[in-house]
Each structure stands twice: as structure tokens, then as C-alpha cells.
Amino acid sequence: MRCEEAEVLLHALIDDELDAGHARAIETHVATCGRCTAQLRDYRDMRGAFARANLSHQTPADLKRRIDARLPAPARPDRRNLLKGFAAGAGLSSAIAAGLVFGVMRTDQDSRIMSEVVSAHLRSLQADHLTDVLSSDQHTVKPWFSGRLDVAPPVADLTALGFTLIGGRLDYLDGKPVAALAYRRRAHIINLFVAERGSDKRGSAMETVQGFNIRHWGESGLSLWAISDLNADELEDFGRKFEAAQRG
């Protein structure tokens, strides 16, 4: 066997991919060749070092959650059967049962709006209806809304900050027309819904609903929801930059 051949095959030897005949042939060659002996030793040492050093990366927990949430949910016992179970459970006090039922059945205003935000986001992506007015110029997008909505929404150009304005459209949340602004971050679309709402709610909240991150905040009589499949950190960054631009 010649060195050129050995130098490819000795990797297969290290990796335990050779049949007995080839393995013997290369071992015979290596035994008589100092250069190949040194290489075999070094490559074995390298493999050992790779194995000892922890070279793999852990999937971030946030990413695992997002992927899990985008898959159909595991089958769960449905509500009616659960209720039947409570009715039949003789030892179960009615107070506990009531608490459990409440836990299962609860659908408050906020979570209903959250799921409407998700639906509107999905609709905009699936129907390919992201924008009614297609422009990256905030001075084109903002006036487009006046006459269509009672209040013109704040429109901020965040292109320089890494979030490109794509345009705006009219959408509906909770049965009322709202402004929807579309932004792009790499391959991700961010929908920002702006609704007039007499809420004094201060501060912001980040939630994950059906695999999408939603940042909700209020500002001067407006309620805003930013939704995207972007990771939570970057969506938070978007929200903060928009708020900062809003305040001027």
C-alpha cells in the first residue's frame, strides 16, 4: 500500500469503518512508515480531544418551546368528559370541582384578544395580504390611515434599527377596525396592531401564544400588540425601539 492510499484509509481505520482485510493492510503499511505512524497517532489524539471537549451546542429552551407550540397539540381529555368526571366523582367537593372547571373553562377578554391577534397574524401571512398600502416610507403609510380610522396610528421608520417597515393595512380585532403595520426582520414578519382603547394600562408584557411571541403595551390611549415568530428578545427590542420612536 502506498502513502496516498493510506492517508485516506487511515481515517476509515480510526472511525472503525474498515473491513478486516483493509484494516490489516493499512496496519501493515503504518508499521513500516514513520510518517503514517505519526499521522495516525495525531488523528487519534485529535479524535480523543474532540470527544473530551464539549463541542456540541444545547438548543435554547425558548426555541424548543416555540417549535413545540407550532406543532399540533397533544390529544387532551376534552372539557365535556372532564365535567362528567366531576359530576360522577362522589368524593370531590363541589368547591374544588368548581375551581377546576374554572381553570379549564376560563376564557377572559385578554386571552380572547390574544388569540385574535394570532389569527389576524396568520391570516395576513396565509392570504398573502400583508399590506393595503405598500411603502417603507412612514410619511406615506401614516396618512393612508386617516379617513379610514378615527385615530391615525403612530408609524415609525425603524429601518436603521434593523426593522424594515413594509407597509400597513386595515384589520379587525375584537370586531373593531384597527391599524396593522407590517415590519420585516430578516425572514421574519412582525405585525403590529394598533387599537384605540381607553386603557390606562402601563408597561409591557410578553407572551407566547400558539408558538408566536406577542408583546403587548399601552401608550397614550392606544393599545399595541406586536406579534411574530421572531424570538422573544428581538421582539422585545422591536417594542422598545418603537416605543422610543413614538415618544420622539
Binding site: D15, G34, R35, D42, A51, L55, S56, I67, A73, A75
Partner: protein, 202 residues
């Protein structure tokens, strides 16, 4: 008895809403059990191929959803190479996007160095001292500096622990190509290793 369970799952299927909800929930259960345990391996390859965490996260998410959509086409055997092949295709697309063009002989193309004989570069004396230990950070950067076609076979072999046949499946190339790329990749790593030793010598 089963139907309400299925429709409950169906309400939450979102983008997969067109499917029969019961079948979707079952498929999702099998996917969670067989594919998701390999997510670290997928994420690791993405990190080494794309070089940063946020692109890697995007690629792994896209790969997972794509794998789930095509889960029916998975015909048994080891699922890890199947997933890694999908991830690699997603990374291809990302390379193409970065280059602003269709991938030709760029990052992923056939490396021209493949043709050069390996044995020409060996310069060491036969009795050279054994390699010194390098820390994980240095080893990572040695791997990161390899051209993509060599980097991927090293990561698949040394970190994801795939066999030659499985690597061939992932990179859609014959086993002979796997062997020659691996030989070339290790040869380049060894050169880098020796250089790093010199750099860190007291």
C-alpha cells in the same frame, strides 16, 4: 369518544388546520417522540454551519416545521440523518440568501482542493512529538475556520457521531467523497492544530 378529543387538538393546530385533527395529533405525538430528541444535534450543526445563534435558531425552527410537514416521507431507519439533511438544505437557502444569489460553487460547492494529493503537504519529521491538548474554545475556532464542505463532515462525524454512510446521506454524496473530505478536513485541522500549539507555546 375520540372525536371531541380530535377536534380539541384541531382547534390548536393553527397552520396545520387543513389536516384531519386526530391524525395530526397522532403524527405530532410520533414526531415529538422520535424527532425532537435530536434537536441538539440539529442545532449544533446549524451553529457550525451558520456561525451565529440567531441564524441557527431560525434554521432549526424552519427545519423542524419542514420535517414535520414531510414526516410522512420519512421511511424508518435512523431519523437523525434525515433531519440533518433537511437542516442542511435550510442552511443552503440561508447561504444563498446571504450571497444574494443561487448557490453555485460557493460555501457548499465542490471544494477545488479535493483534487490535490494529501501527501504533498505532510512536512513533519516522523518522530515529531505528539499533539498537545488544546482547549475547547480553540478547537471550536479551528473547526469554524474550515471551509463549509469540510466543516460539515467534521461536525457530522466528530460531534454528531454519524457513520460514513449516514454522512453520505446527509450531504447527498457517495461514501468515497465522505472519506476524502474527512481526510482533507482532518489534515487541515491538524495543520491548524500545530499552528495553534506554536501560538500558545510558552
Amino acid at each position: 369518544m375520540n372525536r371531541p378529543v380530535a377536534s380539541e387538538a384541531g382547534l390548536r393546530t393553527g397552520v396545520f388546520g387543513k389536516e384531519m385533527a386526530g391524525a395530526a395529533a397522532d403524527r405530532a405525538r410520533r414526531f415529538r417522540e422520535t424527532a425532537l430528541p435530536h434537536l441538539d444535534g440539529v442545532y449544533t450543526l446549524a451553529r457550525y454551519l451558520l456561525g451565529n445563534a440567531s441564524d441557527a435558531e431560525d434554521a432549526v425552527q424552519e427545519c423542524s416545521l419542514r420535517a414535520f410537514r414531510h414526516f410522512d416521507t420519512f421511511r424508518g431507519g435512523a431519523i437523525k440523518p434525515w433531519l440533518l439533511a433537511i437542516l442542511r438544505n435550510v442552511c443552503h437557502a440561508e447561504y444563498a440568501r446571504r450571497a444574494g444569489t443561487v448557490v453555485g460553487f460557493g460555501e457548499f460547492g465542490e471544494p477545488p482542493e479535493d483534487a490535490a494529493p494529501l501527501w504533498n503537504e505532510a512536512r513533519e519529521a516522523p518522530d515529531a512529538a505528539a499533539l498537545r491538548q488544546l482547549d475547547a474554545e480553540t478547537i471550536r475556532s479551528l473547526i469554524a475556520n474550515l471551509p463549509a464542505a469540510f466543516r460539515e463532515v467534521i461536525v457530522l462525524r466528530e460531534i454528531n457521531d454519524l457513520s460514513y454512510r449516514e454522512i453520505a446521506q446527509v450531504i447527498e454524496a457517495p461514501v468515497g467523497t465522505v472519506m476524502s473530505r474527512l481526510a482533507r478536513a482532518r489534515s487541515l485541522l491538524r495543520e491548524g492544530w500545530l499552528a495553534a500549539e506554536k501560538g500558545s507555546a510558552p
